[in-house]
């Protein structure tokens, strides 16, 4: 009997999964906070407790994500792009492209039938190309992150953000609010802006279908709608945030067997 663990320490959320025989058994998520080392240990403990297992039951652990470099345990560290490809392949074997919208970047990854990466593009080190842009605007509008996607669907006239900078976007959002523009139009605007950035990433590698979305962005129906408006149908995993952690665990399993 062998269990495998995948740990993904993201800039916002840390995810852990346990797999057996290539299938998801248990997953767990925590806010990353600022101390990645501490959160990774807490995540592992709580994950094991949820599964009713102890550390010795785990045959191998693969780590990934923004904060993976300083995790004090784990057998190997694998790049998030590879984990994402592997994870989406486990959930949707037919998918040939996945859009991973994370807190600090977005990436578009082409995947083959074995879950191997065949091509990819990553956004620049700029908040406006990542989920962070949406968080910044949600914050200034004093809205909960989980509410903004549904709210944005009510928009009648999405606003246009002119600069492509999240900080200037924040000021633009404040100006629009003071002009009396409804919040949903502002939210639809920021989702559109991010969808536009994603679309340029897709153009760089070429669209492959079927296409899926993963990462925190996969929880946002507003973003999904704006990407679909660009003519790209998206498959959404039931838990889009754990795709990379799942891929990490599958990798751990493949390394042993």
């Amino acid at each position: 009997m062998a269990w495998f663990t995948g740990i993904d320490i993201g800039s916002g959320t840390s995810k852990g999964v346990i797999t057996k025989d290539g299938k998801l058994e248990v997953y767990h998520m925590l806010a990353s906070g600022v101390n990645y080392r501490m959160v990774s240990q807490k995540l592992r403990e709580e994950l094991l407790a949820k599964a009713g297992l102890c550390a010795e039951d785990i045959a191998r652990t693969v780590t990934t994500g923004h904060g993976a470099g300083i995790i004090p345990f784990g057998n190997q560290h694998v790049a998030d792009i590879q984990c994402c490809a592997k994870g989406i392949n486990c959930i949707f074997p037919s998918v040939r492209m996945v859009i991973d919208v994370q807190g600090q970047s977005s990436q578009v990854i082409q995947v083959d039938k074995n879950g191997q990466v065949t091509n990819f593009a990553v956004s620049e080190a700029c908040a406006s190309g990542s989920g962070c842009f949406i968080e910044v605007i949600a914050n200034v509008l004093q809205l909960e992150l989980k509410d903004i996607g549904p709210l944005s669907l009510n928009a009648k006239n999405p606003v246009t953000f002119t600069t492509g900078c999240a900080v200037f976007g924040e000021s633009e959002a404040i100006s629009r609010v003071s002009e009396g523009i409804p919040k949903e139009d502002i939210l639809a605007g920021v989702h559109k802006a991010l969808a536009g950035k994603i679309s340029t990433l897709i153009d760089r590698v070429g669209l492959k279908e079927p296409c899926a979305i993963s990462g925190g962005g996969g929880l946002n129906v507003g973003l999904i709608k704006r990407v679909e408006e660009l003519g790209i149908q998206l498959l959404v995993p039931p838990q889009p945030q754990i795709v990379n952690a799942l891929g990490a665990a599958i990798m751990a399993e493949e390394q042993v067997t």
Binding site: C132, A166, V167, F168
Partner: protein, 263 residues
């Protein structure tokens, strides 16, 4: 400014949202300081982002032209002027007071004063204190120069790791300076280099710019006023030229009254 180019009064105020109302207040304050009435002013030039929102101006001139003129007055040998304001950064190639070329960045907050405002805010520090604090640094950290939002997250991480504040600030100043240095590279950096705009008041950024450009960086006595001084000088020239040619001064109909959004 009088005909001898002496500055009789100067006013610096936070702009806020309502440019039009503010322009009047600034004008009235300056008139009060100088002990003049509005009718005694021969010519008014408005410049800057809000220049079209000055209803009593005789003419609007871009901040690039005014800046070049203003910097040339305080530093006649200026070859490169770097202006870092609250929402953009500019590089101006100048020779003999003439603007030859320029480069600017206004699409991204990194490399502008906004970057410093956000960092100061997240560290709960006054903007004015950043410069002197950063000079105590002995081991500056590396901070992302490409994105303000990510730099802010880096700052929070460094703080939680116990990195001394002054080393973080020195890293921040280096981030903005290296970005602006890259921006002006195309203009060929040669002395004298003059640094203006609100960010020029930050001694930490001045030092970091000197390091990144590899030459001395001069800061005028009041780096916020360069554009306004340039505008006044251009106004004087227009007025004197008209008088010399025996033409009337090309004035607009002026309204020194509060303009509101609902007029």
């Amino acid at each position: 400014m009088d005909r001898d180019e002496e500055i009789c009064a100067s006013v610096i105020t936070h702009t806020g949202a309502e440019h039009r109302r503010l322009a009047n207040k600034v004008m009235e304050k300056a008139l009060g300081q100088a002990g003049l009435s509005f009718d005694e002013i021969s010519y008014v030039i408005a410049t800057g982002y809000g220049r079209i929102r000055v209803p009593f101006a005789d003419r609007q001139i871009t901040e690039l032209t005014c800046h070049a003129r203003g910097v040339f007055r305080s530093s006649p040998d200026v070859r490169l002027a770097i202006d870092i304001g609250g929402q953009d950064a500019k590089g101006l190639k100048i020779n003999g007071g003439k603007l030859l070329d320029f480069t600017m960045s206004d699409k991204c907050a990194a490399g502008t004063g906004r970057f410093l405002e956000i960092i100061a805010d997240s560290l709960d520090l006054r903007l004015d204190d950043l410069g002197s604090l950063s000079l105590k640094s002995t081991n500056k950290v590396s901070i992302s120069s490409t994105c303000t939002v990510f730099a802010r997250q880096e700052v929070v991480s460094r703080i939680s790791e116990g990195v001394p504040l002054e080393d973080i600030l020195a890293g921040i100043h280096n981030a903005i300076a290296s970005r602006v240095a890259r921006m002006v590279e195309r203009l060929k950096v040669e002395p004298e280099v003059v640094f203006t705009g609100g960010v020029a008041k930050n001694i930490g950024v001045v030092k970091a710019l000197e390091e990144n450009l590899g030459c001395e960086v001069l800061v005028p006595e009041e780096p916020l006023l360069s554009g306004a001084i340039g505008a006044a000088l251009l106004g004087k020239e227009i007025t004197l030229k008209a008088i010399a040619q025996g033409r009337p001064i090309p004035r607009e109909e002026r309204r020194l009254e509060e303009v509101t959004f609902f007029q």
